[in-house]
């Protein structure tokens, strides 16, 4: 959309501060100008703010004619009853004493509005006339950081969603040299359908585990099999059990980093020093290998379930380029002799042997593809 422009410097400074310093990852959805005279000066934008494992989209409306004034905000069409300025709040003074030269202002405003939004949604959910829901809320209300969302709309069935943060393990502290800006978080998403008065027994809520994307480096949340939700269970019963179960899995995942490190170290005596290796999570390593005069790179992509699953190998020629000038690569290779019970040095040896044969196939493939061009 009309992104062929820039926001005026004062507004840009505030927006950049928001994008870089907000504890959650805020994204700019679109940006446009409301100016009559300066269509290239962008003074309004839609931001997507993470909320309850989804995003809420708010339009921030500055005025390019007076970039030093406070912005106004237009909330989503579903939130027409959200009025953060109506009660005596910090927001009012934030806006009335607006200092456009302070780049932290927009972030402070959004933070304050989001806090008010959390309260607003909590109040909406509390008003839902559903006995089971009322019971669930009363038993988990003491847990910190729970977010709730009441979805309603003409097409969608009414449902209440919870985002429950799980475990207070500081996973980033358990991994030496961890580059994460924020500790990764795991949430359980619980979805209750409401408003179906005639249902017989209350059905189990829909459950889903969600994690922040950083965690993928050591732990794949999609592979966790959730413990079953038995009839008549409530969240207060389910959660401690699930947390214990998850903590065990995370501890195991962290211990697997060392197994991967030892594997990479075991490759070195055969392949030589790695050209490149991921020193923190040990998920990747690249070695230089040769077969006669044919030299190529071997990329090792090591899955989080290693050693249960073998690393994927990808060969990349140092001598053959395709028509676009990109080095020729093989497909990821995983179908080779492998046993998780082998010692890491044996694993390295068997891969080395496998590659000695595979190198010939790869060389032939490279030569043939180049002849075609």
């Amino acid at each position: 959309m009309a992104s062929d422009g820039v926001p005026p410097p004062l507004i840009a400074a505030q927006l950049n501060y928001l994008l870089n310093h907000f504890p959650l990852s805020v994204k700019v959805d679109q940006m446009w100008s409301g100016s009559k005279y300066y269509p290239g000066v962008l003074d309004r934008f839609t931001i997507a703010i993470p909320y309850c494992l989804d995003v809420v989209k708010w339009d921030v409306i500055y005025n390019v004619e007076s970039p030093m004034s406070a912005p106004d905000v237009i909330f989503g069409p579903d939130d027409e009853n959200f009025h953060p300025l109506s009660a005596k709040s910090k927001t009012d003074s934030l806006l009335d004493d607006w200092n456009s030269r302070d780049p932290t202002r927009l972030m402070a405003l959004i933070q304050e509005l989001r806090d008010r939004y959390v309260e607003y949604q909590k109040k909406r959910v509390a008003e839902v006339d559903d006995d089971r829901l009322k019971f669930e809320i009363s038993t988990i209300v003491f847990r910190e950081g729970i977010e709730m969302y009441m979805s309603s709309g003409a097409e969608k069935p009414e449902e209440v969603r919870f985002a429950v943060p799980l475990t207070d393990m500081n996973i980033d502290k358990m991994v030496p040299g961890c580059p994460w800006r924020h500790p990764p978080k795991i949430y359980l998403q619980v979805m209750y359908p409401v408003g179906r008065k005639y249902g017989s027994a209350p059905s189990a809520p829909r459950l889903k585990l969600v994690s922040t994307s950083e965690l993928k480096a050591i732990f794949s949340i999609e592979d966790v099999k959730l413990p079953p939700w038995s009839d008549g269970m409530c969240m207060a019963e389910y959660l401690p059990h699930l947390e214990e179960f998850l903590e065990k899995q995370i501890l195991e995942a962290v211990s697997l980093i060392d197994v991967r490190r030892r594997f990479i170290e075991a490759l070195a005596p055969l392949f030589g020093r790695p050209l490149e290796a991921d020193p923190v999570f040990c998920r990747k390593a690249t070695f230089l290998a040769g077969s006669g005069v044919f030299t190529f790179l071997v990329h090792f992509m090591i899955p989080t379930q290693f050693p249960k699953l073998p690393p994927a190998l990808m060969l990349q020629s140092s001598q053959h380029l395709n028509s676009q000038g990109v080095p020729l690569k093989s497909l990821p290779l995983t179908d080779y002799p492998w046993s998780p019970r082998w010692d890491v040095s044996l694993m390295a040896e068997r891969i080395f042997e496998f590659l000695a044969d595979e190198a010939l196939n790869f060389k032939r493939y490279c030569n043939e593809s180049q002849l075609q061009h």
């Binding site: 005025n63 030093m68 237009i74 009025h83 300025l85 109506s86 934030l94 009335d96």
Partner: protein, 291 residues
């Protein structure tokens, strides 16, 4: 009375057009107040065309509609960024509500707009009804110049906006009710209506104080031509006075023309100055940001 819901909002075509014109010619967003009156309309079935309908006119009083008619507006900022009323907010005359016009933004009340309506309806002299007219233009549309508007009544009891339909008042059978409910609203005092010369003379002699005040006001409007003299237009000496009156009209027209010329010139100057201010502000904002 504090929260009487109105059924409809009416605005005359020229008022709406002038509001849209004010908005589209302004460089930035606009706020302002709406003035007018609330009336109860009884739909009239009187018709010139259909004589048979005259028999049914007596049964209409049951379906009265409460209608708020916007007759004028003034564009001025009157609230803070958080929607509180500024100390300079005029206490009289009491407005019907307010409007907000912002370019290229969603046609939904914003955070501040809700707060302004709330402030207006809960101030020391609460507005009733508290209307809100929102004007916007679409975000994406570049090729076609579109104006969108939507009207709301702010409900104090439920603290929410209720969407209302807008009637653009025009001429025709559909708008007959407006004529029935018309009440003149003008700073020009009423001319004492008297019939027959004898009363006039008595009137002259009596010279009641109340009338004197009114007459002085009228004279002020006529600027140097006493209203009393209008009387001489009737009767035997009328011919002489006609020339005098024509002369007066001529002078008035000349005056109006020179006034119009002055307004034109000063508007051009204001526009020039506004342009200059805008450029300076733009420059200042750039400098402030690049420091």
């Amino acid at each position: 009375m504090a929260d009487t819901p109105i059924d409809k909002i009416a605005i005359s075509g020229p008022t709406l057009a002038s509001l849209i014109q004010r908005f589209s010619s302004s460089s930035g967003p606009l706020d302002g107040l709406l003035f007018g009156h609330v009336s109860l309309l009884s739909p009239s079935t009187l018709s010139d065309d259909d004589p048979s309908s005259s028999t049914t006119t007596t049964t209409t009083s049951t379906s009265q509609t409460r209608i708020a008619t916007v007759t004028s507006f003034i564009s001025l900022p009157f609230s803070s960024p958080s929607g509180h009323l500024l100390p300079s907010f005029p206490s009289s005359p009491s407005p019907l509500g307010w409007f907000s016009a912002r370019r290229r933004s969603p046609l939904r009340p914003s955070m501040r707009e809700f707060s302004v309506s709330q402030s207006l309806s809960s101030s020391s002299t609460p507005l009733s009804p508290c209307l809100f007219l929102l004007l916007a233009s679409p975000i994406h549309d570049h090729a076609i110049h579109t104006h969108e508007y939507r009207a709301y009544q702010f409900s104090v009891s439920s603290e929410s906006f209720g969407s209302k339909s807008i009637d653009i008042v025009n001429i025709g059978p559909g708008f007959r009710g407006h004529y029935g409910a018309f009440s003149p609203n003008s700073p020009f005092p009423a001319l004492p209506c008297v019939v027959g010369g004898s009363v006039m003379i008595e009137d002259e002699k009596e010279g009641e104080e109340e009338e004197l005040v009114e007459r002085r006001q009228l004279d002020l409007c006529a600027e140097g031509f006493e209203v009393r003299r209008l009387r001489r237009l009737m009767g035997s000496g009328a011919a002489n006075y006609t020339a005098e009156l024509e002369d007066l009209y001529g002078k008035m027209l000349a005056k109006v023309e020179s006034l119009a010329r002055q307004v034109e010139l000063s508007s051009a100057k204001v526009f020039e100055q506004e342009n200059l201010n805008r450029k300076l502000r733009h420059k200042a904002a750039r400098l402030a940001g690049s420091e």
